[in-house]
């Protein structure tokens, strides 16, 4: 992690402050010349400040903090975590893309805030990462199929559908996973940092089936190319071996070959044609879209190639037809709770605890979580009430 922490001393050294200023400037997308002009010094002076060769004056720090959209306290606080995963994502993009840049910054900010609050409260997130499976020479699809099944077995999932990928990542693996509304073209992001661990951001605006696909896709990167940041967008062409692996892993994990074959055999027994009804029942059983189901059947040679295209040219498979087969099912709201609120639930709980214990002030938390005062009060509201609800019966045993 590009973190500047020194727990043993009360104040940071000039070099540590300089490094934090550099990261904050880069985060604000300002050049050294821009920053020097804002402060009224020559560029070489700013370089010396960032290198820790010249101590920044308080008035300069104030101006820089304002220009970098942060505060002097956020730059000087000893425990502040200065994580910058954004450049790792920038390297992936052929051209700069604002939607991806915003999503990468959001992931970075969420992780940074959570790690800082964990440090402040002395808590840590336990990791239960599966073994890494680097991509080897040879048939990529076969490797993905094998690795996906191995992970399913390791997780004890059995042949059933993946109903809540967020809980699997969060609770079973200990991955930092956030579901937030993102630009429609961004499906998910994955990054790994030595200190923060594996981090995934998924688009809350996507339907549950797609969110599951994106979550498993990012899990594939976590399994195979853990050290490489990854962003999944809708125009992904899956050209690289890594992407082809992740795509195949995603299909194999969500719709395992053996389970699909078995289910397919059961529901088509004694029948001569593959119908819409079969597709609807299979897609529902595995919690995937109708298209994803048909394409998987094509891949497993359970349906002829071009079957989905045939359905499309013959009127597709409509929601009405799904309703006729399955009846009125309640909308699946898995993950919805994680997407609501100004910050993810665990982060909100950490913030409330840090405020209750007077480790952070309202202003410090607002800055850390990038909220205004109204928003942070919404998060903190009721924290005092919880305190007055304290009862020995509900005391946590630690």
């Amino acid at each position: 992690m590009d973190a500047g922490k020194s727990m043993s001393r009360e104040k940071l050294t000039d070099t540590e402050i300089g490094e934090r200023l550099r990261l904050a400037r880069e985060s604000a997308k300002l050049t050294q010349a821009d920053a020097a002009a804002l402060v009224g010094v020559v560029r070489t002076t700013l370089v010396a400040i960032e290198q820790g060769k010249r101590r920044v004056h308080m008035d300069e720090l104030q101006k820089l903090a304002t220009a970098y959209r942060t505060s002097a306290n956020a730059l000087l606080r000893r425990e502040a975590v200065h994580l910058d995963m954004v450049p790792r994502f920038r390297k992936l993009q052929e051209s700069s893309d604002d939607a991806v840049e915003r999503a990468t910054r959001l992931l970075n900010d969420l992780v940074r805030a959570e790690v800082e609050l964990e440090d402040a409260l002395g808590v840590s997130r336990s990791r239960n990462y599966p073994p890494e499976r680097p991509i080897l020479p040879g048939d990529i699809r076969a490797q993905a199929e094998q690795d996906a099944q191995e992970l399913r077995d390791w997780l004890g999932l059995g042949p059933g559908p993946v109903t809540d990928i967020v809980s699997i990542l969060d609770l079973q693996l200990g991955v930092r996973v956030y579901v937030r509304p993102l630009d429609g073209k961004v499906s998910g992001l994955f990054a790994y940092d030595d200190t923060a661990g594996a981090c995934i951001l998924l688009n809350a605006n996507h339907p549950p089936e797609r969110l599951t696909q994106s979550g498993v896709h990012e899990t594939a990167h976590f399994v195979s190319t853990r050290r490489q940041a990854e962003v999944l967008t809708e125009d992904e062409r899956f050209t690289s071996r890594e992407e082809r692996y992740a795509n195949a892993f995603q299909r194999s994990f969500i719709t395992p070959a053996r389970a699909v074959r078995q289910r397919f055999a059961e529901i088509t027994a004694g029948q001569s044609h593959l119908t819409r009804r079969h597709i609807i029942l299979l897609a529902h059983a595995f919690g995937v879209s109708r298209e994803a189901m048909v394409r998987r059947l094509e891949e497993l040679k359970l349906a002829r190639e071009g079957t989905w295209d045939w359905f499309l040219t013959n009127g597709g498979i409509s929601d009405d037809q799904v309703r006729q087969v399955l009846g009125d099912l309640p909308d699946r709201i898995v993950n919805a709770a994680r997407a609501q609120g100004l910050v993810p639930p665990r982060l909100a709980l950490l913030a409330r605890e840090a405020w209750k214990k007077e480790i952070y002030s309202e202003g410090q938390l607002a800055r850390l979580l990038q909220l205004n005062r109204h928003e942070i009060r919404e998060i903190l509201d009721g924290a005092e009430k919880e305190e007055s609800e304290a009862n020995e019966l509900v005391k946590l045993p630690h």
Binding site: S71, N73, L76, A120, S361, G363, R377, E384, K385, S388
Partner: protein, 209 residues
Amino acid sequence: MSSSSFLTNPRASLIADASVVINLNATARAAEIIKAVSNLFIVTENACAELEAGIRNGHRDHAQLLELIDAGLVRRASLGNAVMIVYESLIDGSTSRTLDDGEAATIAHAQEIGGVALIDERKARTLCSASFPHLQIASTVELLMHDAVAGAIGADGQVDALMNALTNARMRVPAEHVGKLTAIIGAKRAASCSSLPKHVREADAAPQK
């Protein structure tokens, strides 16, 4: 400190933190409330910058503050060089012993000019009392409950102002003022305010004897 005693010296300036400005704006009667007290009202540049940075979700706190400044009701102040060391001590160090820029500047400026720091934040008040025991601290609710405010906007106006601050801005109320506040706005209204302690919120539901 009694709830009305902080305004005994009309020459003492009141240095308001960003959170106090937000509460005052939420009352919808900020100008009248400020006019009601003869003390000079000050907001530091840092607190202004914080409100400016927090413009989102339709809140107009920064614009409303500028209107109060333009009307001559609030003065904007920068920290002097002499007090920079105090300010630095409040922002530089471990998280638990520091504050964000606006909160720190409010305390530092109050210390610099011998004014009253108007600040609601629990941790800021605790740190301030420990580091500057002679510095006078007061909160929004004390200002709003003051007799001068009731005199200017009337008893009903005072109740409305308090309720607006509590419901629109989730105003924090230091424990020592909860009793008087409840007496002014009434137990039923107090029970509806989510930012007040649970015992206040449940008092209305308690069986009548």
